[in-house]
Symmetry: C2
Subunit: 336 residues, 2 copies
């Protein structure tokens, strides 16, 4: 039995969508138990008797995006997120946490309550995006670490490679460094120093790549500091949305395009499926912590929560954290 | 009569497309003269007698992307780019240069041969992108300055605002700072310090914006260091290409989608027009130099060269450099 704790009151559509997502996971997988943290009466009302393999832990407070992350973790001791982290920390049989709450608070709680894997300088967020080929790509870090040192980027690369190899069953993912050109001498000070470290790391490092290569399908793991990584991730998501928006607007303004759009249903479905990575893979894991932490988009719905729970189980079964520890040990041995 | 010097041997499709682009400008605008720099015999062969208002300056060498930029500017004295810069520098009546050559060499030549506007710490590249609304957006800097200080970003904001207000005839463009969140306290060290400077600058500063707001239509001028700016620009362009590629592939694989696509011709044309900003606006100007410098994509065709020449004339007539000087003076006065 795998036990996962879920922050039932984090997210724009909490608690309804979070709880329904947990129920989907329970129905689909007979070897999963869920601990829901949040206001007990409200949770019970939504469950409406569907409480098989569900445990409720009452928490009267909610952490919002307006709360200062570390202050909230320290003082909102009876919040759904802090209670969930306490359970994750104290109960050995709980394998991971899923939350769609404030990113800052989820990060702060991870550091303050759970802690880093020995040797990892900074945990990092690694969301998945589609590419124009059949493969997907992850970016690490996408915004958890805004000011970075070269050693952080080296650790991001090790963690990203271990993570990608598990979720796609690829033994040697292609790891690239986000840069302003492919040539080795390119980059700001951080990128130049990180490049030198990545070259000797126990990963399949394919060199520098530009933002334009992100969705090309030629990169599996794009390594970046959280500031540039966030710009790339959000810019990419925004561009995809912008194209779809221009497409829709144009279809509505031309009669024949509206007719054409009816014939093109399958194509629009293809694109939706290709772009909607979230429901396929759940949220972003926060890699590098002692226990599994999966952060969902604030706007996520029940299917995303289901996927995140499934992802947590997969990462547990495939021993992600053990693989990260092994990579760090290999790195340290090589450096001795 | 406006004289513009064109590097006829810079770019993937040089010299043919560059020369044909110059000829388009000559035909369309009776008050333009072009000086073509490059191998004289080859230029004459392409011109084939069409030499009205065209001057040729012979240059036997070509600077390529494999050349080290500053070394090339220093030593390839008989290259089409260096000769063009020499003409721009020496002849007072030449208002600007257009080149599709190596970006590094164009930048190096700008600094070494032409120099900065007094008070501007760093020239910057400011390409234009479409948004999902009807307005366009520029990003400054998009890659000319990889390691930046806060004062550089302040100057980018002043220059970008002056440039945008000219090309779109908008008195107070909305200037935003690229950041990992909209809140004032967000950002890496550079962004935080830049934010404080931008708040007091004589521009319409609307605060921090994420990469996802870039194509939203709610920002006119996105200010960033060249590293993050390059990631955002290239990532955005790559994402648009990826969506179009997935769309095409899907259409080809579904019979009814192929039928639908025929009806949707107008919509595809709309999107192409919206995305193909380059032909509408020419290349990226390098803002902040004593004379007008417009850098085209290496892959540009004749229509892009025409647009870049037209853009150079517009920026000259609307006194871009005077406006940048005025903004710097206003800033310095406020600081006294």
């Amino acid at each position: 039995m795998k036990k996962i704790v879920v922050d039932a009151f984090g997210g724009d559509h909490a608690p309804l969508e979070i709880i329904e997502g947990a129920l989907l996971a329970i129905q689909k997988h007979k070897d999963i138990e869920i601990i829901l943290c949040g206001k007990e009466d409200k949770i019970k009302e939504i469950l409406n008797g569907r409480n098989e393999r569900i445990e409720i832990v009452d928490a009267s407070q909610v952490i919002t995006n307006d709360d200062h992350p570390t202050v909230a973790i320290r003082h909102k001791k009876d919040s759904s997120l802090v209670k969930a982290y306490d359970i994750l920390k104290e109960r050995e049989d709980v394998i991971g946490i899923v939350s769609a709450g404030s990113t800052g608070a989820v990060l702060a709680g991870a550091i303050m309550k759970i802690g880093r894997i020995r040797g990892i300088s900074r945990p990092a967020l690694a969301p998945i995006l589609p590419t124009k080929k059949d493969s997907d790509v992850i970016i690490i870090d996408s915004g958890a670490n805004i000011d970075c040192k070269p050693i952080n980027l080296l650790h991001f690369a090790l963690m990203g490679s271990a993570y990608y190899s598990i979720i796609y069953d690829v033994p040697k993912p292609r790891v690239a460094l986000l840069n302003n050109g492919a040539e080795e001498e390119k980059g700001n000070e951080l990128a130049k120093e990180a490049h030198a470290l990545l070259k000797t790391a126990p990963i399949n490092f394919i060199g520098n790549r530009e933002g334009g290569d992100f969705m090309s399908g030629d990169v599996d793991v794009m390594v970046a500091d959280g500031f540039a990584g966030n710009a790339l991730l959000k810019g990419t998501e925004g561009a995809v949305k912008a194209v779809m928006s221009v497409l829709k607007k144009s279809i509505k303004s031309h009669f024949w395009s509206m007719i054409g759009a009816v014939f093109m249903k399958k194509t629009f479905k293809d694109i939706k499926n290709r772009v909607d990575i979230q429901s396929r893979h759940g949220g972003s894991p926060l890699l590098g912590c002692k226990k599994l932490i999966v952060k969902n988009h604030g706007a996520c719905m029940r299917n995303n929560i289901l996927s995140s729970i499934e992802q947590t189980v997969l990462l547990y079964e495939k021993k992600l954290n053990q693989k990260i520890e092994d990579a760090i040990n290999e790195l340290n041995k090589a450096g001795e």
